[in-house]
């Protein structure tokens, strides 16, 4: 009993410490990357304090953190004090709590400690049967942090940010759910470990056989993490700072860190659901029995994949302009939801009839499924291009009546 609690505490410490460090250094990475794309140098000065050693700016996150903590924490007089405090706490707690069921490796071999027989699963709460749904539930609580903070700030810009985030996050939860349903169908479980295990066992990552589901999930995950091009809740050019306009000091830091944690969660989910988790062909093996090198290798593969996805998030940030709000909604309801439904339908039909048909014909199931998946992706894409549901005519309309009259009565020069 005591060993179980100790091992759980060790895992929690590892996860929280790792996440905080990762969030800090991903901020540095993002700033360096933005600088690289914009042909600047980026933060490269801060190194070891009191010396002249720069270390490529690796001290920058620490300096940022210290600055945030020691900054004056100003609470405006017009805010609703309780909810103003509650907002950042809710979003931060929700962002951290999602990692209770997200694995950061496969298993460690038996440590040889009495009372801890058997392999140790590398996630905080192993065997939660509703793991994926739990992530969704906790993620859906995060929107409270945004809405509460924006409402309690009692400020127009914050308020607009809160309204936008409410509409956006509700809308994109539907394609997010539709995107994973195909994966859950194939794996037959909501446990993230089982989903990785299924991909490792068959050696076919879900991204190859369900590209349509992957596209839907990727776009929805971008929107749920409120990253550019979906960062309307905090569009700097329109809303000053969006929902956290009135925040400063450590509360602002909690908001910003929670935002990065959302991105990291999304990257973990993308890797686990569609890119095979810790699995890499010919390198990590697929079974449950692991030796030490294999266990470490699996953790390294998973984290490397996650880092690559985070890099993709950062590249996308500088590659697309922000959507307009009606485009955002059209994209959710008229493009992503139908695509998700098509993917769900195809996967369901495949599981019900396709597998038997392929066995009867003696073909390779994975290859045929991949061919079907990509064909469906291309067909859906063509259909959407033809129907163009998200194309809106926003040319200036005829103005109010007096404008027309004035225009007509004006003498032509």
């Amino acid at each position: 009993m005591a060993e179980t609690i100790i091992i759980a505490l060790v895992k929690i410490a590892l996860v929280i410490g790792g996440l905080m460090t990762a969030a800090a250094y991903f901020v540095l990475l993002e700033r360096r990357m933005a600088a690289w794309i914009q042909d600047r140098r980026g933060p490269n000065r801060v190194g070891i304090p009191l010396t002249r050693i720069r270390l490529f700016g690796l001290g920058q996150p620490i300096a940022d953190g210290v600055k945030f903590i020691f900054k004056e924490e100003f609470t405006p007089a017009h805010v609703d004090k309780l909810l103003y405090f509650l907002g950042p706490v809710v979003i931060f707690v929700a962002a951290i709590a999602a990692f209770a069921v997200i694995p950061f490796g496969s298993t460690l071999p038996d440590l040889g400690i009495e009372g801890l027989r058997g392999p140790i699963h590398l996630l905080v709460a192993p065997g939660v049967d509703v793991g994926l749904l739990y992530v969704f539930a906790v993620n859906s609580l995060a929107v409270y942090g945004l809405i509460l903070g924006s409402w309690a700030s009692n400020d127009k810009y914050s308020f607009f940010g809160g309204i936008r985030s409410g509409a956006q996050l509700i809308s994109y939860e539907i394609p997010l759910g539709l995107g994973i349903l195909g994966v859950v169908f194939v794996a037959g479980s909501l446990q993230l470990e089982t989903i990785i295990g299924q991909q490792a066992r068959t050696g076919v990552w879900n991204v190859f056989v369900q590209p349509l589901g992957f596209v839907v999930f990727l776009v929805a995950a971008f929107a749920e993490a409120a990253r550019l091009p979906f960062d309307l809740p905090e569009a700097e050019q329109e809303l000053v700072g969006g929902y956290h306009t009135e925040y400063s000091g450590i509360k602002l830091m909690m908001y910003l860190v929670a935002e990065f944690l959302h991105m990291i969660t999304a990257s973990f989910l993308i890797v686990i659901l569609f890119f095979g988790g810790w699995h890499l062909w010919g390198l990590t093996g697929a079974g449950d029995e692991v030796t030490w090198p294999i266990a470490v290798l699996r953790v390294a593969v998973l984290l490397a994949k996650v880092t690559l996805v985070v890099l993709f998030f950062m590249l996308a940030r500088w590659s697309w302009p922000r959507f307009r709000f009606d485009q955002l909604m059209d994209m959710a309801w008229k493009v992503m939801v139908p695509m998700g439904l098509v993917n769900l339908f195809v996967v369901a039909v495949w599981i019900e009839y396709g597998t038997r048909l392929v066995e009867a014909l003696g073909l390779h199931g994975g290859i045929v499924m991949a061919a079907v998946g990509w064909a469906v992706l291309v067909a859906t894409w063509l259909a959407l291009t033809w129907a163009a549901p998200a194309v809106a005519d926003n040319r200036p309309r005829l103005g109010p009546p007096y404008a027309q009259e004035e225009f007509e009565e004006r003498p032509t020069p």
């Binding site: 909810l83 509650l86 939660v128 049967d129 509703v130 749904l133 739990y134 969704f136 539930a137 906790v138 859906s140 609580l141 929107v143 409270y144 809405i147 509460l148 409402w151 308020f159 809160g162 309204i163 409410g166 509409a167 996050l169 509700i170 939860e173 037959g188 479980s189 909501l190 309309r397 005829l398 103005g399 109010p400 009546p401 404008a403 027309q404 009259e405 007509e408």
Partner: protein, 274 residues
Amino acid sequence: MNHPQWILVAATLLGAVAMWLLLPRVRDRGWPLGIVLGAIGLGLLASQMPRIGHWTTDSVFLVLAAVTVVAAVATVTFRNPVYSAIWFGLSLLGTAGLFLVQGAAFLAVATVIVYAGAILVTFLFLLMLADPQGRAYYDRIGWETSLSAFAGAVIVGILSMTTISVLTNPSDQLAAAAATDQQRAEGVLGEYPIAGLGSALFGTHLIAVEVAGALLLAALVGAAAIVAHGRVKPPPEIPEKGDPAAARQTGQEAAGDGEPASPTRTHAAAEHRR
């Protein structure tokens, strides 16, 4: 005279009086007394609660139940609608926790996703659009306080009476219908409880699920029809020269067309055109 039933009656009555005192009226002075009476009533109810297992399970259950009930009371007694919504959210989290104590992980998570994640966020969204400050008179007082307190007391009283009477003298039928430990281990606590739930929903209860789905779809279509009703077609043509009335009218329609949710205005435009 059965002892526990009279305690339940007293608890329910105390709760009703407490609710009546707590509900926001034009002039409310009795809320401290209401809190005291409500706490006594809750304590009486909790004292009659049958033990469900180890004392840790019991205490977790009692804490969660207290959080749920107190948050639910706060939902209807707070004056500020946004605070009411937040208390409602806390109540839902407590409910999810109660489901978890019973081993129904899927129900717990589904409650959080559906109610706290979608419905309550929609509530908050609408509250913000409606009256951000919650200062309107009709938002700040309760209507029919005595009637609603009475109705609540009747519901709570009947439910707790029924539960207590079942628990104190269980008939053979109920004992036979209750799930045994083995059934629980195979069902809810088994390896694939969600798969079992899914096959039960889409096997045994298929008709009910489909009917509910059809009902929701009809509601969705109805909502879309209500929103779309009376929306005027966009005016594409530029009016003839020298006809200012026509120009004015098309201009109005053009202005009304861009707004999705202003039925009165578009209605007025349509009437005017007729």
